[in-house]
Structures are given as structure tokens and as C-alpha cells.
Amino acid sequence: MALVDAQSPGDFCDKGARFGAHAAAEGIYAPYYGKIVGVSWFNAGARIWDIRDPRNPRPIAYYIQAPNKNTVASCARINGAAAVCHNAAMNDYVEFDDRGYIYAADRAGSGVTILSLTGDALKVVTPQAK
């Protein structure tokens, strides 16, 4: 398990597994209702968006699960090239609870990570946030 520095996410096309938006959180409770939404982004992890202004959603946080001993390899042969396997996590779902915890489930068997917002991202959901 590792946090990836927000300044250097790398090229997700080279990390293996799938990339891209997959599923938006289906249950949004207080304290997050109307403020943030979580979206699973496969190998780009769990991504949180500030939706207080829904016409201008703003990315505020992300978490990328590192592969571990339980991660199932993702194997493919793309565009006729030789088949290749990658040890890559693949975030499948992001869900919230009414205590403010965020649950990031990995599709490739790496586990479920329980997260909380910190820093500027936390300010988005504090009571005084507009």
C-alpha cells in the first residue's frame, strides 16, 4: 500500500490493467452530500471531485492502491504485440459512510482501503465550506 505523490502520477497507460473513469459513488451521505463525489478510475485509483459548483467540478484528491502479494496480475496482448502481464491494482468502487470515511475497493484483489480526507481536500467538506 502506498500513496503516490500528487505531482508525479506517471503515465497510467504504462502501468497495466485498465485506465479511466469506471463508477461514481452510489451513496453519498452527510457530511459529503452536495460537496464531493468519488469516482473509481481503475489503475488511476480513487478520485475525489469537489462538486459544490456542479458546472465546474474540480479534482481535489486521489489515492492509488499499490499492488501487493494478493494482487492478481492483469495480462493482455494489445494490438498484436506479445502478451504481457502487469502487477497493477485497479480501483473498482469508491464509497462513503456517514462518518466521512471513504472506502476504495480494488478489482484486482489487492484489498479495500479506508481513507479520510486531509489538507485542502478536507476544507471542502468542513461545515464552514461554501
Binding site: 500513496l3 502478451a83 504481457v84 502481464c85 502487469h86 486531509t118
Partner: protein, 140 residues
């Protein structure tokens, strides 16, 4: 970094088979975890041929797997593939690795790869695949 991890929980169900098998071997004078390949088995991996070797061939050569993964998307396996991957663990001079064996719908090896533990992402690890088989692994 704005998200802080609090805890991680693995899917214990995936390990249930390995745990039971390990208990069964507890009385052996030379116990080894189920699905852990011996040097003799590692030396025989070339006998596994995608498109030719069957599930029974793999079991006879390598024994019970460390883990069996059923991966499908909403109940559907990828076209032409069985809904099952067998994984073994092993170690050689290059370090630990996982042997990844996928089967096709006819119970034959579809894809076979020896994946080093220290190979997250990056260029990936070359895999052997059956001629004319599906271009995608089941876990995609």
C-alpha cells in the same frame, strides 16, 4: 497527498483454500505451503504449453495451486476463456515470483506467465499465450 489510508483488509476468502491445504500438510516431515513450487517443479515449467497443456497436466506437474481466482465480469468470462486462474508461488535466483496460469473454455492453458514479485507496473512481464486465443487475459 490528500487522502490518508487508515486500514487495509484483504479478501480472506481468496486465501481460504491455501489455509486449508497448509493445515493438511502440517504433519508432513518437510512441510511447504500449498502452491509453493519446488526447484524441480520450477525446472519443469517449460512442459506447460499454452493451447496444449490441460488443467490436469498442470495439476500433475505442479500440484495444488497457491490460489484459484475466479474472475468474471457480472458472471461472464471473457470470450473463449474459462473463468479460472491458477496461481503458484516460487523463488529462483532472481527472487520470488508468481506463476499465473489461465485456462480456456476447453480446460486447456490459455495464458502462462512467471511474474516477478518485484515487477509492479512498468514494462510488464512477457507471457506465453495459446495461438489464436483471445488477446485479453481474464483479469482485464
Amino acid at each position: 497527498m490528500r487522502l490518508k489510508p487508515l486500514a487495509i483488509a484483504s479478501f480472506a476468502a481468496l486465501c481460504a483454500f491455501a489455509a486449508v491445504a497448509a493445515q493438511a500438510q502440517a504433519a508432513s516431515p518437510t512441510p511447504s505451503p500449498a502452491g509453493t513450487l519446488t526447484q524441480q517443479q520450477i525446472g519443469a515449467l517449460d512442459k506447460i504449453v499454452p493451447g496444449q497443456s490441460t488443467r490436469a497436466d498442470v495439476a500433475a506437474l505442479l500440484g495444488e495451486p497457491w490460489r484459484v481466482v475466479q474472475f468474471n465480469d457480472c458472471g461472464e468470462a471473457m470470450d473463449g476463456q474459462d473463468d479460472e486462474t491458477w496461481e503458484y508461488r516460487g523463488a529462483d535466483a532472481d527472487g520470488g515470483f508468481r506463476l499465473h496460469v489461465e485456462f480456456n473454455e476447453h480446460g486447456m492453458v490459455h495464458l502462462f506467465a512467471k511474474i516477478p514479485d518485484a515487477a509492479p507496473g512498468g514494462a510488464g512481464t512477457a507471457a506465453k499465450v495459446e495461438p489464436g486465443g483471445s488477446p485479453m487475459g481474464m483479469s482485464m
